[in-house]
């Protein structure tokens, strides 16, 4: 089999809401898959393999919901496997599907999944169970308190204020007004964020993403097939991923390889990704990013680790408007994870939104003249990271004849 370039040729996502009681889980996945296949102008028979994107199933209560969804995805008789790296699942699933096509073993691959977090009455209780049962379950540890610790450390290192985090939320909700599928959206003020109920310092309720239900899918194809199907596909020109230790205490201090306040794993993942894509200066060569930000504290360290600004500089740039739609780098034109978080497909949504920017199909969210867009995903105890570059043409080492 001949190695080949890979591109996104179709995307689909359902509206994301608190509950989707009108659909069963397989029906929800099917809705997104149909949208993606229609967008790609392919029929189910043209799909050679499926990668299923689904994180913990504990939220929705069916252990192998991917296998339940086989018939809804017209997957019977085809290769299908499920990828699960916690919150990074969608990013990892995309990269797994990329390998299917890049290897030359498959021409057209569907990535699909869905989540319905609110099926469980207490998602944060479930998220307490991700930690070690002997050492950590008994602490009040969940994804909110875990990332609050990292946010405190970031504030300590760089002097960030709660107001600066609040501005991230205001911008996200404003951007989401242009996104018909976003879960939370609206014109709110910094004061509204600061006045929302305290959850875990420095987080107030509005600093935290919602629990969303909905589905997402995209279709990948070989470069040759992509050019037949779409005049402007989104080529995957770089992929990077890093896993770190589960233990946050091992990610701080003088002997740590990375600092958990800085999400410094992304430096390594981005370096790998950019090297493949031939990107030397992300700030000059990347026009927009869709980054994984379930908390208001996630944007600054990510933008710094991805090379868009120096350490500690993102908060001032944010204050100046650099990350708004008409700023130097529009960040999360979709509203991002702060506005929509169906965990099993959130990383996939990031890639979908980045691909749409490259394909010129982002509608009211469109950033002008996007040639390169970055999508990230993060999972586990902020320990799994993926970075994917989507581009208007094959670039760097991903150019394959």
């Amino acid at each position: 089999m001949k190695r080949q370039g890979v591109a996104v040729i179709g995307t689909g996502q359902t509206p994301f809401r608190s509950r989707r009681d009108d659909k069963t889980y397989p029906e929800l996945v099917q809705d997104a898959a149909v949208l993606a296949m229609n967008d790609a102008r392919v029929v189910p028979d043209e799909i050679d393999a499926i990668v299923f994107s689904m994180a913990p199933t504990t939220f929705m209560g069916v252990n192998e919901c991917d296998k339940w969804s086989v018939d809804a995805l017209w997957a019977q008789g085809k290769p299908m496997l499920r990828v699960h790296t916690g919150g990074a699942t969608g990013g990892s699933a995309l990269q797994a599907a990329w390998a299917h096509v890049a290897s030359g073993e498959y021409r057209t691959v569907l990535v699909a999944g869905a989540d319905r977090i609110t099926e469980t009455p207490d998602a944060q209780h479930v998220l307490n169970l991700i930690w070690d049962r002997f050492y950590e379950h008994d602490f009040a540890l969940n994804t909110v308190t875990m990332t609050a610790l990292a946010a405190q450390r970031y504030m300590h290192k760089y002097g960030t204020t709660e107001e600066q985090f609040a501005r991230v939320v205001v911008r996200a909700r404003l951007h989401a007004l242009n996104n018909p599928d976003a879960h939370l959206k609206g014109a709110i003020a910094v004061a509204d964020v600061l006045a929302s109920p305290r959850v875990a310092w420095p987080y107030k309720l509005y600093d935290i993403c919602p629990r969303s239900a909905g589905a997402a899918a995209l279709v990948l194809a070989s470069e040759e097939h992509a050019r037949d199907k779409r005049s402007r596909p989104a080529f995957i020109t770089g992929i990077g991923g890093v896993s770190n230790s589960v233990f946050m205490g091992d990610r701080m201090g003088p002997y740590a390889d990375t600092d958990f306040a800085d999400q410094a794993e992304l430096v390594q993942a981005a370096r790998e990704c950019y090297a493949q894509a031939g990107i030397r200066d992300a700030a000059r060569e990347v026009q927009t990013v869709e980054i994984y930000d379930p908390f208001s504290s996630f944007q600054f360290p990510q933008l710094e680790s991805l090379g868009f600004c120096a350490r500690g500089a993102a908060q001032a740039l944010s204050d100046e408007g650099a990350f708004e739609m008409d700023g130097a780098l529009p960040v999360n034109p979709s509203g991002g994870t702060l506005c929509t978080n169906p965990i099993g497909v959130t990383g996939l949504v990031r890639a979908i939104e980045a691909a749409r920017q490259v394909m010129g199909s982002a509608g009211a969210m469109q950033v002008p003249r996007v040639r390169n867009a970055v999508a990230t995903a993060i999972g586990g105890s902020t320990q799994f990271f993926t970075v994917t570059m989507l581009s208007d043409e094959p670039r760097g080492s991903m150019q394959r004849g």
């Binding site: 008789g77 290769p79 496997l81 916690g86 390998a99 890049a102 998220l127 896993s243």
Partner: protein
């Protein structure tokens, strides 16, 4: 496909591994695989894990398992279908040209989990969960369907158990057990008619790990001798609904086997060994017939799941046995002259998914 097995390890088999946490089981196995390959963790450019949250008893199993499995600050991703799926994913990552040296790891400490309760939670909440579906009942439906269509009898199933258990006791890597007589198997209680308790392969604890390399990596390390070459892999999924044709048709397992061989460019009669994952005797009978195995092809010389059956990664253990066969290192169960061996794995209710990996002897 052109991917090489540099080294591998299978954790010493046991009904229950009592002296180690799951993290330690994975660490021991991955460490042994790296040593077997003669490479260091620092040389790896990626890791592929295969694990099931529910069987591991953790909501995101890889959070605690990634680092002991060698993935600390590596590009790691995880699949959840089976250990064999992990190897297939790892091989695809190498075949993409992006990665050149990787570790694949999978495990299952079957002894600590409520196996059938986990199986029941796999059922959809509307149709199959209310009737109490679990692994045993799904396998009973399968047994009933293939027995009706192909005439497999209780006697034949019981004889097959005795055969596999006898074979397994020749395998130096098998759990040591008394070999049951067919009559004793026939006398065991029903799980779900016609499937009896003793028709099922006993669950064990275990883990397996592989070091895979690209042709480019091998060219840059000419002193390295791989154990085997992966030339083909294919897998597919069947319908969720357990209808009669889905259970007895066996079309999927047949097509997967043929497609894996086609992709490898290997003729059926060139296969000397097939290591089947048969979770019970009816699976063994059905797959052997469906794939028209026998004659020059030795089926499950390791004893298959009756040698060891760490449920989630039994298919990956099959790959290890197949590698050892083509490397001439299978010990007392070596098939003379084995040059091509195929490993099979399955997963899901009544084996909803099947996968095959084709391994060939290094020139």
């Amino acid at each position: 496909m052109d991917v090489y097995v540099l080294g591998l390890a299978v954790h010493p088999s046991a009904d229950a591994i009592r002296d180690a946490r799951l993290e330690e089981i994975a660490y021991r196995t991955c460490r042994a695989a790296l040593d077997d390959a003669g490479v260091t963790r620092a040389q790896l450019d990626h890791v592929t894990l295969a694990a099931c949250d529910e069987l591991d008893g953790r909501a995101i199993s890889s959070m605690l398992m990634a680092a002991p499995s060698g993935a600390y600050l590596k590009d790691e991703l995880r699949v959840t279908d089976s250990g064999l799926s992990g190897l297939q994913m790892g091989a695809l990552r190498i075949a993409s040209g992006r990665f050149h040296l990787g570790l694949v790891a999978s495990w299952n400490q079957s002894s600590i989990g409520p196996f059938e309760d986990i199986g029941r939670m796999r059922a959809d909440p509307f149709h199959t969960r209310p009737i109490g579906m679990n692994f045993g009942i799904a396998d009973g439906l399968f047994a009933s369907a293939v027995a009706a269509r192909y005439g497999f009898t209780d006697d034949a199933a019981s004889e097959r158990v005795a055969l596999r258990a006898r074979t397994a006791q020749r395998n130096p890597r098998a759990v040591r057990r008394a070999v049951p007589e067919a009559a004793a198997v026939r006398g065991s209680s029903f799980v779900a008619n016609p499937l009896r308790e003793a028709h099922r392969a006993p669950l064990t604890d275990g883990a397996a790990a592989f070091v895979l390399a690209s042709p480019e990596w091998l060219a840059a390390h000419p002193d390295t001798t791989p154990r085997a070459r992966i030339t083909g892999a294919y897998w597919a999924i069947d319908r969720y609904q357990l209808g009669g044709e889905r259970l007895a048709g066996l079309e999927l397992v047949r097509r997967c086997y043929d497609e894996a061989l086609r992709r490898a460019g290997v003729a059926r009669d060139a296969v000397q060994v097939v290591e089947l994952e048969a979770q019970n005797a009816y699976c063994d009978l059905a797959y052997t017939d469906a794939l028209e195995l026998g004659g020059a092809t030795t089926v499950s010389p390791s004893g298959g799941a009756w040698a060891q059956n760490p449920y989630f990664c039994t298919g990956l253990v099959n790959v290890a046995e197949a590698v050892w066969q083509v490397a001439g290192q299978a010990g007392a169960v070596q098939v003379p002259g084995a040059r091509c061996a195929v490993a099979h794995g399955s997963h899901g209710y009544a084996q909803q998914g099947h996968g095959f990996v084709v391994l060939e002897k290094m020139p």
